[in-house]
């Protein structure tokens, strides 16, 4: 029984076309995947169906939902429909809830706004829905505020809000992209359970092919506002008919070609971390009690050899970012030591510039890590303040930009003119320009689309090959760590729970936490991929 039938949905905002002739069908109670890279129009498709487009958007086409055409409804009719017949959840659970209202009020509001229940009954229903999404009343009373919950718990609240009136269709726009792998697995499990037991249909919008592979019966692949390919998930993965789909699939499991290195071949370690302890002082629980301490990094020891590539994996809150800041000499240690090439890494001016110049960093957010008012040339040459500006600085800026695949003339442009992938290349050029011995890559490819990510991974592998610097590659994404590192450390609650050669750790993990991480990582079944490769 067809639930939703979209025909020739086209959309433009101002003069810019966003969607062209998007058509697909969804059956009742099915999971339908909408896959594409950022900017492909998948979120705009969802917002068009919800009638939540920006004011200057022009829509044509039809979207039959039961007896009505969603695109032809007025705002009044759409407000009655939204939340009652179609629910929607979004990517950012941290900001998707009103910070000033309790979770109980926010869930109950769905019922109150549609006059589906009295105030008391709505609260009872909110309790029941929160129980249903895995937030039991003894630990999660209705009086909690969003800031008292983790990202995964907030996404559960958002789901409870969206399903409170048992809509026939739930649109989930990148519902797990901002979450850790194990949390992602739990949320996907919850969504899958809702589809099976509550009979709702789920439109799962994601850039992650592995997520749809495990969830959706059918999917559509979008590129530049068009659906390029659609069909049953397994059939489409096994035998993609379009070149774009094939490239997406290839990029999702991409591993750059790189010569294997072993730690043993290097005599003196480049970076040596010994018993590192990083503590935070928390507010006193009462006026006279001592400050409790939080050990974010709890006695961590490891070393990186010259030219080695070491991975550090763990979920958010495990202490990996705190450790990274200490390694970069940005935060002080409360115990243990960090030595780079034999010299101690310290906070502030005690650490000589020449030592700082031996390591550089690339961070996650390609949009937030540049001063928007500086030219690219100035941004890239920034590390020269550690070494003194060499006479051939201009040539080196040009060379660094060309090395990361940009043009020398790009130095005169400004950062807003570049895409996310290009920005990350500029960040790499900035790290590379003074030829450091170690580059710390903190979630450096996590914000990038699969194809761009594959290209940046290739670039990183090639640069390491030609310049021989060491990488400390920090990520929550096991597949990219596997693609780029020789050895891997698994971190949980401030401790290294497992360490070893990357392939060995992934193939036969020893620690239960590592096993849990690997099991939670969504994958495209190997059999599907083999078929695609043979194609």
């Amino acid at each position: 029984m067809t639930l939703l039938s979209v025909r020739d949905l086209s959309l433009s905002v101002g003069p810019a076309p966003i969607l062209s002739e998007v058509s697909f069908d969804m059956a009742e109670g099915e999971v339908f995947g909408l896959v594409g890279e950022s900017g492909s129009g998948k979120s705009m498709t969802a917002l068009a169906l919800m009638g939540l487009l920006p004011g200057n958007a022009r829509v044509t086409g039809a979207a039959r939902f039961g007896a009505i055409d969603l695109l032809a409804q007025g705002e009044g009719a759409m407000t009655r429909l939204r939340g009652r017949d179609i629910g929607m959840i979004f990517q950012e659970p941290m900001t998707a809830l009103n910070p000033m209202k309790t979770i109980g009020d926010q869930v109950a509001e769905t019922l109150l706004i549609h006059r589906a229940a009295s105030r008391g009954a709505a609260r009872e229903a909110a309790r029941e829905k929160l129980d249903r999404v895995g937030l039991p009343g003894d630990r999660f009373p209705l009086s909690l505020y969003p800031h008292e919950l983790s990202g995964g718990q907030r996404q559960r609240v958002a789901i409870a809000m969206a399903i409170a009136l048992r809509p026939k269709l739930l649109i989930a726009d990148e519902p797990t992209t901002a979450l850790d792998v194990t949390t992602q697995a739990q949320i996907l499990d919850l969504l899958g359970g809702l589809v099976r037991h509550e009979g709702l249909a789920l439109m799962l919008i994601t850039h992650d092919l592995a997520v749809v592979a495990g969830m959706a019966e059918r999917l559509a692949v979008m590129q530049r506002g068009r659906i390029v390919e659609a069909g049953g998930t397994e059939a489409l993965f096994r035998a993609p008919s379009q070149d774009y789909t094939r490239r997406l699939l290839a990029a999702s499991g991409h591993r750059p070609a790189r010569a294997a290195r072993t730690a043993g071949q290097h005599s003196a370690p480049l970076l040596h971390v010994e018993d590192a302890v990083r503590e935070y002082i928390l507010p006193r629980p009462s006026a006279l009690a001592p400050h409790p301490r939080l050990r974010a990094v709890d006695g961590v020891s490891f070393s990186i050899g010259a030219g080695e590539s070491l991975g550090l994996v763990g979920e958010s809150g495990c202490g990996k970012s705190t450790l990274t800041r200490a390694i970069l000499g940005l935060d002080p240690l409360q115990g243990g030591s960090i030595r780079l090439g034999g010299s101690t890494v310290a906070v502030g001016r005690i650490m000589p510039a020449a030592l700082r110049a031996r390591m550089q960093a690339v961070f996650q957010d390609p949009y937030g890590s540049f001063n928007p008012r500086h030219s690219v040339g100035r941004l890239v040459s920034e590390p020269f303040h550690l070494t003194g500006r060499p006479p051939d600085a201009d040539d080196r800026i040009a060379a660094a930009l060309e090395e990361v695949g940009l043009a020398a003339a790009d130095r005169h442009r400004y950062i807003h003119e570049f895409s996310g992938g290009q920005r990350q290349r500029i960040a790499i050029a900035r790290a590379l320009i003074i030829r450091p011995d170690l580059i710390v890559l903190d979630e450096a490819v996590s914000a990038l689309d699969v194809r761009v990510r594959a290209q940046v991974l290739d670039l990183l592998a090639r640069l390491q090959e030609s310049h021989g610097m060491a990488y400390l590659f920090i990520s929550h994404d096991l597949s990219v760590v596997r693609a780029l590192t020789d050895r891997v450390l698994v971190m949980q609650s401030g401790r290294i729970v497992e360490a070893g050669p990357t392939e060995r750790v992934f193939a036969s993990p020893d620690h239960p936490y590592t096993r849990r991480l690997i099991a939670a990582t969504p994958t495209i079944p190997a059999a599907w991929k083999e078929a695609a490769h043979a194609d």
Binding site: M50, L52, E75, T79, R80, L81, R82, G83, R84, G87, M88, I89, F90, E92, T95, A96, L97, N98, P99, M100, K101, E109, T110, I113, H114, Y145, H147, E148, A158, M161, A162, P283, A287
Partner: protein, 315 residues
């Protein structure tokens, strides 16, 4: 919440202490001897010295500071050099005008600013928004004494609805007092309302772009509902900050308006005290104003915590 309150109270007390010290020191270095000023140019040095003794001006500075603080703690602000009456009485008399005037103006300002800000935000980019923004631009740029004179011309001289100036006191009934304060309050409220409306509008527009507003719309709330139920409360933080600052300003900053309307307010008192070197009055009035500002800041902080649950737990 109790910890938050305690910390705020502590910082309130410390700010007061710091402010009193600064005020005292500044007055110490200001030139001009009140005793010789009071006695005139022809007074003999002995008489001046005797008066200085009598006023307690010859004691050491720390002792005078402590006795000033101790006196204030008991509600004794000393004697005015020029009027020869207790400063506390003088200030209380003026506060009877200034405090109601400030509250009246603030109330009028909020009454105009909230609907205007909400309307402009809800109709962003449309005619109503343009009209509100134009009016607020005018409200900010018009000097309020000019507007005050205009009000007098229209409402006092032409239509004779409100008195043109002076203050009959509260003994003659609340109505007469309020009537006397109405035109000055409107003149004071105009620029404040304009600023407040703009702040509310931009805070609302910023909040409207938040993810949780989109979530609320996906639940089926209309634009108006999301604005009232979700955006308004989140937009209140900057609005409260401005409201607090405006109240502090209105309390003593109304000096021009007080002059236009011949109102015996705090602003005129402090102006006269400065010109007459009545340092004890200056000191006390400034101290009271500092206290008022710090108290208002404290109340605004409390209001933040009532509005935003995240502040209640932190610190």
């Amino acid at each position: 919440m109790a910890r938050y309150l305690f910390r705020r109270m502590l910082s309130l007390a410390l700010s007061l202490l710091a402010a009193s010290l600064v005020i005292f020191l500044v007055i110490e270095v200001v030139p001009g001897d009140p005793a010789s000023y009071m006695l005139g140019l022809n007074a003999s040095p002995e008489t001046v010295d005797a008066l200085r003794d009598q006023l307690g001006l010859n004691a050491a500075a720390p002792a005078r500071y402590l006795s000033w603080i101790w006196g204030m703690a008991q509600g004794d602000f000393g004697l005015s050099y020029t009027y020869k009456v207790p400063v506390s009485g003088l200030v209380a008399q003026r506060l009877e005008v200034s405090l109601p005037l400030a509250l009246y103006a603030l109330g009028l300002s909020a009454l105009v600013a909230f609907p205007a800000g909400l309307l402009a935000a809800a109709r962003r980019g449309r005619l109503a928004d343009t009209a509100v923004m134009g009016a607020t631009q005018l409200g900010i740029s018009l000097p309020n004494f000019w507007f005050a004179m205009l009000l007098v011309l229209v409402f006092a001289l032409h239509w004779r609805i409100f008195p043109a100036g002076g203050f009959p006191g509260w003994d003659g009934g609340i109505g007469a007092g309020l009537a006397a304060l109405t035109l000055p309050a409107i003149a004071l409220a105009l620029p404040q309302a304009a600023i407040l409306a703009r702040v509310l509008r931009s805070a609302l527009i910023e909040t409207e772009g938040q993810d949780y507003i989109r979530t609320a719309r996906a639940k089926g709330l209309t634009r108006t509902q999301t604005m009232i139920r979700h955006a308004l409360r989140n937009a209140m933080i900057p609005v409260l900050t401005i409201l607090g600052m405006q109240f502090s300003f209105l309390l003593a900053g109304a000096i021009i308006i007080e002059n236009v309307f011949y109102l015996p307010g705090l602003g005129r008192l402090i102006f006269q005290a400065i010109t007459q070197r009545d340092l004890i009055v200056v000191e006390s009035v400034v101290m009271i104003l500092v206290f008022a500002v710090i108290l208002v800041t404290f109340l605004v902080d409390l209001a933040y915590a009532l509005i935003d649950p995240r502040l209640r737990r932190r610190a």
